[in-house]
Amino acid sequence: MPVFNQSRQTVIRLIFATTFLIIVVRLAVLQLFSDKYDAQAFSNAVYKKTIYPGRGIIFDRNNKAILNNTIIYDLTVTPYEVKQVDTSYLCSLLSIDTAEFKNRIITAIIKNGRYRPSVFEGLLSLELQAKLEENIWRFPGFTLVERPIRTYPFKAGAHLLGDIGEVDTAIIRRSKNFYQMGDYVGRSGMEQYYESVLMGQRGVQHLIKDNKNRIQGPWENEKYDTSAKAGRNLRTYIDIELQQLAEKLMANKVGSIVAIDPKTGGILTMVSGPVIDPNDLTGNTRQKNYAKLALDVSAPLMNRATRGLYEPGSTFKPVGGLVALDLGVINAGYGVSCAGAYYGCGKVIKCEHHNPGHAANMRLALANSCNSYFSQIYRMTVDNPKDHNTKAGYTRWKDYMNAFGWGEKLGIDLPNELPGSIPDTTIYNKVYRNQWNSCTNVTLGIGQDKMQVTPVQLANAMCVIANKGYYYTPHFVEKIDNETPADSILKPFRIKHEALTHISDEAYEAIHAGMQDVVESGTARIAKIPGINICAKTGTAEKYTVLDGHRIKLPNNSMFVCFAPREDPKIAIAVAVENAGFGSTWAAPIASLLIEQYLTDSIRSEKKKDVERIASANLMPAYLKRKQFIADSTRAYYYFNLRKDSSYIKKYLKQRSAKVEKPKQDNTTVSSNKNTAVENKQQQSAIIKQQIPVPVVSYKSYGNSRNRNLCFYKEAFLFVDDKHFKKQAAI
């Protein structure tokens, strides 16, 4: 037979060998020269589960928990596993439509990819959670995930505690990817400042999952797992009952209360009005309430204690007196004769008193809050013969203010504190082109002009006076549980600032005596508490605002500062109530009640009705209504322009046309119309607007805040003209 074919066995062997060589090369490429498969196998099979530790609790000075953790559920979805879901039932449970359902799934895929869970509906209500838990088997791919949230049993302290919220990309970037999408962090207040302490340490659990994403057990015997460490608790100086009382008193008012223990710098109470309930901003109610509060022009979300800027008014006087005494430009017996005004400079500065001898010495001048006296001693301070000129004297004066902690950030343990304002000479040089003297800013002596402080700075100045020179930076946290030397976060609060201890005891005693007289016989007699020597100072600061293009004078800010008892100061308070009138009418009684509550742990029965009276008083400034209208209508018009949906602006249009009708009829008699000042202004401006032809406004630069203010008015014009609206609506 064909023996000659024997050579072909070599060919066949070669074919075998070549094929196997190809396979070996391929195998080497797969196994030796590409490492992506290893990573893919890992991500296929190992599920890294993050274990969230419980967040630290914040306690008050009596070890009551001001906030607590509780668990709420998120509905999460893994889009890849969503197959044969009873969509219509799920939609009916969540009360959304199928279009929205699809939308959310697509959003989830974009956000976290197909194979990772993303939040489908966050923070479920208890009822909804129960329903979903029962039916979760109908919805493959959907799971309920625990999410710890905060509750506030005392319903107090929203501004100082702050809130927690989901991280955004900026936070993730800043943390160098320490946080991951979906993590919750402190977004404001102490929650933000003490984030590193409160958050604890996240744990990681490696779990094996199979091809259907079912968990099969731990991976590599938990060798790489780390356990979660609970966040540490904070022990604070806050007196939660005092806080509750203060918040009650501040209801329906714009302003702020700060109470500090002068001995330690510990903040006992910090309130910002309008007051909000912290429970409104957690869990499933957050979304709804947050939007409402954020759009409110009275800015309820802003912490006015650290971010509200106030002219101290007469409450500055003890500070001004101290500076003058220390510089030796006057002594405690120095007096001026005041006949109801200060005529030393060109402009007349009015004084509330005109009886002779009401400013015969420092003590009397303080008790009677004589404007002439303090204007005079301010000028003497700045024009100090020891200094070469006014500017040098002013700089020295400014250094004193900075020593009190004014004009620069105090460094309290809350984020985003404002420094207030004690202007530099450069500012006056610029404004007055170098031509200024002690008369130019003489009202600085009575706490006006360009001087602005935050309530916490005001309270801190009281601490300095009460302590006769030293202070600790105001702070909330006394200690951290299981504190280690590595915790540097509290170090700055344990340093004693001996800023003004060089001022003599006599000077302090003179000021203390004057401040005590304020309560005993002066402007704040209403604040007197039998058995307690209170040192205080009232203040009434003038306020102006711009509304509808006009500068209008608002009711005065009611200010009050005090500390008590005089002999052994335990509490220093600053109160500011915006647009409420005299310092003695609202701010003083509030402070008095707080002192009584704090020092005696109770309030006398005859004072209890005072609490109710103040708590029920609504002192929300009237001009805010107009501001709110402008803001809302502007926003509505903006969205109307974007979406071409006239339903946004309908209600503003009606309101406007109704308002416009009236003055149209009695156009000529407007001037004789005797309404309140603000309303009068409104009507006048409404008429002015009617006469102006409608400008065509470009909204391209809407984001710029200066332009936005301009837009207010331009848009307000647009609402007047119905024809224009119809034209817009027709588009």
Binding site: F16, Q31, S34, A45
Partner: protein, 447 residues
């Protein structure tokens, strides 16, 4: 060949036998690694015969017993009954048409009760091998004649056609491996070259835009004419030959391939071929799309997904592997069909490059041993049969490994001796044992 040995083991090729046993054991261990669940009592599950690895062991024992019986027969039995077996096989294949049972995606299985199922197309490989060997070894066959070559081709292609009719394209392709045997027996090499070129042309058709491919082919033809211009001057027929080849190539590329893809192959098969080449297949109409959807859903194996997961499994093995029962891909069923067609993933992931190399060297040793055995036969029948065994095994191994590593389309061909499957194990075992039996009488001339 010591006389002390008992009759049965005298003259048996020990190396081949041991390689075979080794592969079967590797198979059982691999199936164990792929299907063992944490916490199962190993001894108990092995004896319960419920798990796949214990079933496979049973089939291995059955194979050994049946193999012993084969060794006890006379070697002339196989030459005498070869055609009979072949006829029996074809009969079985025909019986499949009326009696096949509803098993997912195929019409080639006859079920007896719940436990036993028979796929005649697998058995028929042995029969076709015997029949081909018988035909080639006939004294009156002159394999240099075209007629003989056509008859031999018909013997192997007939079952393949029946297989395609039963939607078992993968197994049908196995029968084409017998052309290697024919090549050894004198089939002109040109036929293999043409077959190979055809395959390349088909792949190129799928990968390259038809117009550009036509241009390339024309360019090649032009180049060939330019190079061979001297010969063309002398013999005009060379020019016509080149032009003829060019027309055939363009014809295949333009008409034959689309025709085959649209009318002969099922859309899901077309999709798998496209998947392997890394191209997206767009179904030409709704019916085709429905067919793809049906086949991917019922078979639970979207070819693309399988290959991807299988590549991850093998690739993540690295140099030394993750160790037995430690592979996450195979332990947690990311690779579908991992105990049958994709069993190599378990080895690749568990034992890495080193383990896979050892495993491959066992296979190549087996194949080379069979070729050596074939060449030492005195009778043509034994030689042809041995080459048949080598070709069939080679085809299975090569395609299966390429399939798991993404070099070949997923066509559902098992890895011999290793993949789970009673019938395939028994079939391959019988092939080996018949070979051993024939080899025992290698000094005889069998007709």
């Amino acid at each position: 060949m010591s006389l002390n040995k008992p009759e049965i083991s005298r003259g048996i090729d020990g190396l081949l036998l041991w390689l075979y046993i080794l592969l079967c054991c590797i198979g059982i261990v691999s199936i164990f690694a792929a299907t063992y669940r944490e916490g199962d009592d190993i001894v108990k599950t092995f004896l319960s015969f419920k798990t796949d690895y214990s079933k496979q062991s049973i089939f291995f024992l059955i194979s050994i017993v049946a193999g012993t019986a084969v060794l006890l027969t006379d070697s002339k039995f196989f030459t005498a009954t070869a055609n009979l077996w072949y006829a029996f096989g074809i009969l079985l294949l025909l019986l499949v048409f009326p009696f096949h049972s509803n098993v997912k995606g195929t019409k080639s299985i006859i079920k007896f009760g719940n436990a036993l199922q028979l796929q005649p197309i697998q058995l028929c490989i042995v029969f076709a091998n015997l029949a081909l060997a018988k035909y080639l070894s006939r004294v009156e066959t002159d394999f240099t004649k075209t007629r003989s070559q056509l008859v031999a081709a018909a013997i192997v292609i007939a079952p393949a056609i029946l297989a395609i009719a039963q939607s078992e394209t993968g197994l049908a392709l196995v029968y084409f491996s017998f052309f290697l045997v024919m090549f050894r027996e004198g089939l002109p090499a040109i036929i293999l070259i043409i077959g190979f070129s055809f395959a390349i042309l088909v792949v190129a058709t799928l990968l390259v835009d038809p117009d550009i491919l036509a241009l390339i082919l024309t360019g090649i033809a032009g180049l060939a004419i330019y190079i061979m211009r001297r010969q063309i001057k002398r013999y005009k027929s060379v020019l016509f030959g080149i032009l003829g080849i060019w027309i055939v190539c363009v014809g295949i590329q333009r008409f034959a391939v689309p025709l085959i893809f649209d009318h002969v192959l099922e859309p899901y098969q077309v999709k798998r071929i496209y998947d392997t080449l890394g191209k997206d297949y767009i179904p030409k109409d709704a019916a085709a799309a429905a067919d793809i959807a049906k086949n991917t859903e019922t078979k639970k194996d979207d070819g693309d997904y399988n290959v991807k997961q299988s590549k991850i499994a093998i690739g993540s093995g690295g140099l030394t592997g993750k160790g037995l029962l430690k592979g996450t891909q195979t332990r947690y069923s990311f690779v579908p069909e991992q105990r049958t067609d994709f069993i190599f993933c378990t080895i690749g992931e568990g034992f890495g490059f080193v383990g896979s190399m050892i495993f491959l060297s066992i296979y190549i040793a087996l194949l080379f041993r069979i070729v050596t055995i074939a060449e030492r036969q005195r009778s043509t029948f034994s030689r042809c049969y041995a080459y048949g065994v080598a070709s069939v095994l080679f085809f299975h191994i090569a395609i299966n490994l390429c399939m798991t590593m993404g070099l070949a389309p997923v066509i559902g061909i098992p890895l011999p001796f290793v993949s789970y499957g009673g019938l395939s194990l028994v079939t391959f075992s019988m092939m080996i044992f018949i070979l051993l039996r024939l080899d025992k009488d290698r000094q005889m001339v069998l007709r």
